[in-house]
């Protein structure tokens, strides 16, 4: 062969054309299912538009937004979302990190045990919600009550999902149970990637376990922790299946979150699309900062 290794067969397409053809189908789909509806939602948020009354759209300016900011329901849902998402991500992180540190050692059947810790993550959300209802509530107010009473922690049976003070912590617990393995595997992978030499060097320097954690483990994991936390925070904002199938936002709106409120306004009751779009746009803008931060960090890792 006389080829120099740099030549292409003459009829081959250019790089630009090739990339264009490879990307076109995906970009068209993203345009159709994400960009176009998003633009439409943005547009709708400035209009009066009820799906029910057949009067079509009329321009409102920022009225939907001012109404939103004056709506106690919106503020309630926003605060609830922050509590739900913040509580879940924090619990996931603390438990997932503790577990990752605990299993970061040699012990029998390690791979099998680590895999078993991951199982709740794959269990469908509706199943998790069903189990939660069964454990916390029925029959006879649930096995959780029976166990806690036997242990002497509670004296009388508690309606976990029906008590306005307990409903939110209970759905946070159920969501954390399902989502924790994600944090666990990511932090565990992070721990595994820490160079052994760094730990050995610290040990030789006389660092105790806590000092090693503080000065070797944490700095090495900082970026992964930031990335995983942002990603979970943004994703959990969407997540409504467990609340939808256990409390439906109740009791007395104590577990009403933003996605649930938007769903309620758009698809049940008044079908006020302008108002629900405004709610969604607020959420989008609120999370944009987190998304940008995530993309920047990932971009830096890639470079």
């Amino acid at each position: 062969m006389l080829s120099t290794g740099k030549e292409r067969p003459k009829h081959d397409v250019s790089d630009r054309m090739f990339a264009f053809l490879l990307l076109l189908p995906s970009l068209l789909v993203i345009l159709f299912v994400i960009v176009y509806p998003l633009a439409l939602a943005l547009y709708t948020s400035f209009f009066r538009f009820f799906l029910t009354d057949g009067r079509g759209m009329s321009f409102l300016g920022v009225t939907n937004y001012t109404r939103m900011l004056g709506s106690p329901e919106f503020w309630k849902a926003f605060v609830n979302t922050l509590v739900y998402v913040g509580g879940t991500v924090l619990a996931e992180f603390v438990l997932g990190f503790a577990l990752a540190l605990l299993v970061n050692a040699r012990f029998p059947a390690k791979n099998a045990i680590n895999s078993l810790f991951f199982v709740p993550w794959i269990i469908p959300s509706v199943v998790v919600a069903f189990i939660a209802r069964f454990l916390f509530f029925d029959p006879f107010h649930g096995i959780v009550n029976v166990v806690l009473q036997a242990l002497g922690i509670i004296r009388e049976f508690v309606g976990w999902l029906k008590d306005p003070r307990l409903a939110m912590p209970t759905v946070i617990a159920a969501t954390t149970w399902k989502m924790m393995p994600f944090m666990f595997v990511i932090l565990y992978a992070g721990l595994q990637a820490i160079p052994v030499e760094e730990i050995e060097a610290a040990t030789i320097d006389g660092a105790n376990a806590f000092q090693r954690f503080r000065h070797v483990t944490l700095p090495n994991l900082r970026e992964i922790i930031t990335l995983a936390t942002i990603l979970e925070f943004v994703w959990q904002f969407q997540y409504l299946t467990i609340i939808f199938t256990t409390t439906r936002g109740g009791p007395i709106d104590k577990t009403l979150t933003l996605p649930l409120l938007i769903y309620r306004v758009s698809f049940m009751g008044s079908l006020n699309m302008g108002f629900s779009s405004a709610l969604g746009v607020f959420w989008l803008v609120f999370l944009l900062g987190f998304s940008v931060l995530y993309v920047r960090l990932v971009g830096r890792r890639e470079a």
Binding site: F130, V185, T245, Y263, W283, L284, F290
Partner: protein, 283 residues
């Protein structure tokens, strides 16, 4: 020093096992309950192992009908079609796109990658409102493609990103070798590089399947005909809001719903976990 160390090791192992048992106890309780008769489910104190083992709950959900006269198996089939369809569409779209991002030089690539990354972080319910109306206009409500299409908004950006990570790990020398052998760009991609990212394709397929199998709110909105409902929505409407819930059947339905993803996990967990890590934090 040494015996103390061994004691610590044993203690650690015992703690790990205890936590595992505690963590998976809810799943055990679901399975155990699914094999009990209703009176035993209500018995006090509760029985840890079914005293009178029964398959009635399974028989009831697999042969009988749930609420609204729709058999559980119809929901199951709908879920399976939608999940497999989503996997197929996602792979066909994401593989070429991520290949381009990983290996073909072009202008504006970085910006486009960021665009894809951000597009997986947008509010789904917000997008769902206009999407619902668009799908209504093109008469895709309550059809399989009408649900698979919106699912791509969840799966496609993540999959493109995840697969790109896998393509990035394939050495560039392989491209050069293909070039020397006279492969066109398309041949190099299909015959040389793509077979090397099979683990990545497997991981993407699994994550996509699990996402589609789990999804609830889009399915609730798009599938407004009961016969087209997927498992999560069908189950929710069959078991929630009734006055006397049949807990045994509800737990049996839960077990059956979890089986496909658990099976996938048993055989392919290695790919799944590797893929998740690649998609979330690696480049």
């Amino acid at each position: 020093m040494k015996p103390r160390r061994r004691a610590l090791k044993t203690l650690r192992f015992a703690l790990i096992l205890a936590l595992l048992v505690l963590y998976l106890a809810p799943l055990y309780w679901m399975i155990s309950t699914s094999f009990k008769h209703q009176p035993e489910i209500f018995r006090m104190p509760p029985t840890l192992v079914p005293a009178a083992f029964t398959l009635d709950n399974y028989a009831a959900i697999l042969t009988g009908t749930l609420a609204s006269a729709i058999p559980f198996l119809v929901y199951f089939r709908n879920s399976l079609v939608v999940a497999l369809g989503t996997v197929f569409a996602t792979l066909v779209l994401a593989a070429p796109a991520s290949y381009a991002f990983s290996r073909v030089p072009f202008r504006g690539k970085r910006r486009l990658i960021y665009f894809v990354l951000v597009s997986q972080m947008l509010p789904v319910v917000l997008i769902l409102i206009p999407l619902y109306r668009t799908l209504q206009r093109v008469r895709l409500l309550s059809t399989y493609p009408g649900l698979i299409l919106p699912y791509l908004m969840l799966t496609l950006p993540f999959s493109i990103w995840m697969l790109k990570g896998y393509f990035d790990t394939i050495p560039r020398e392989l491209d050069e070798a293909a070039k020397v052998d006279g492969c066109t760009k398309l041949q190099a991609m299909l015959r040389v590089i793509l077979p090397n990212v099979k683990p990545g394709l497997t991981a993407t397929a699994i994550v996509t399947f699990i996402m589609a199998w789990d999804e609830f709110i889009i399915a609730l909105t798009i599938m407004d005909k009961n016969a087209m409902r997927t498992l999560p929505v069908g189950m929710m409407q069959s078991f929630v809001g009734e006055f006397s819930i049949k807990w045994g059947e509800m737990m049996a339905a839960s077990v059956v719903t979890a089986i496909p993803v658990v099976l996938i996990f048993v055989f392919l967990s290695r790919y799944l976990i590797g893929g998740l890590i690649a998609g979330a934090v690696k480049g």
